[in-house]
Symmetry: C2
Subunit: 113 residues, 2 copies
Amino acid sequence: MRNAWRDMSKLEKAIVAIVEVFEEYAGTDEQKTQLSNAELGQLIKAQITSPEFKDKVDPDNIKDVMEELDKNHDGEVNFREFSQCIAGLAKAYYIKKHGKEKCRGKGRGCQDK
Amino acid sequence: MRNAWRDMSKLEKAIVAIVEVFEEYAGTDEQKTQLSNAELGQLIKAQITSPEFKDKVDPDNIKDVMEELDKNHDGEVNFREFSQCIAGLAKAYYIKKHGKEKCRGKGRGCQDK
């Protein structure tokens, strides 16, 4: 795949960054496409550092995080499971900023922060 | 919320970027927390530009994209629906690079879905 980072949009760069972070940590043992317990711990300790995200993922309790993410119970986190976790973190960050979605449809509203 | 961009990790910056892109395009009409059909079209046209992503989302057929994303059928795309779309795009990008997850290891965890 050609590297076209420079031409990518902000959204595309964000997606590529998420993939790269997964690759970096998943690649430290033989199972290059999965995060082991230890790899997940390293990823979370290094990458979830801001208070905005830390309360969603507890770096001191990787076992629980693993159990939540490992939907197919194979003891590893694959990229599909990881991307769902990222979507969850993004949603939590968004809700922190904007509040839970309430009204929709007509009217102004919906902008409670 | 304090702006601590500089202190954020690569992963956290990526998540914030995804939220910011949504906010930018969702904020152009009165429904600031939802993407209308027109806003979704603008977002996709401007942000999905690389061949790596374009074949997953067709900028010339926003109506179909909207139908696929708008899980609650309210005619708008909220952040939850958008974040699921991003997770899907990330997964597709990952599969393009690494291939589909296959069975590996010792027979455990070969539950490719």
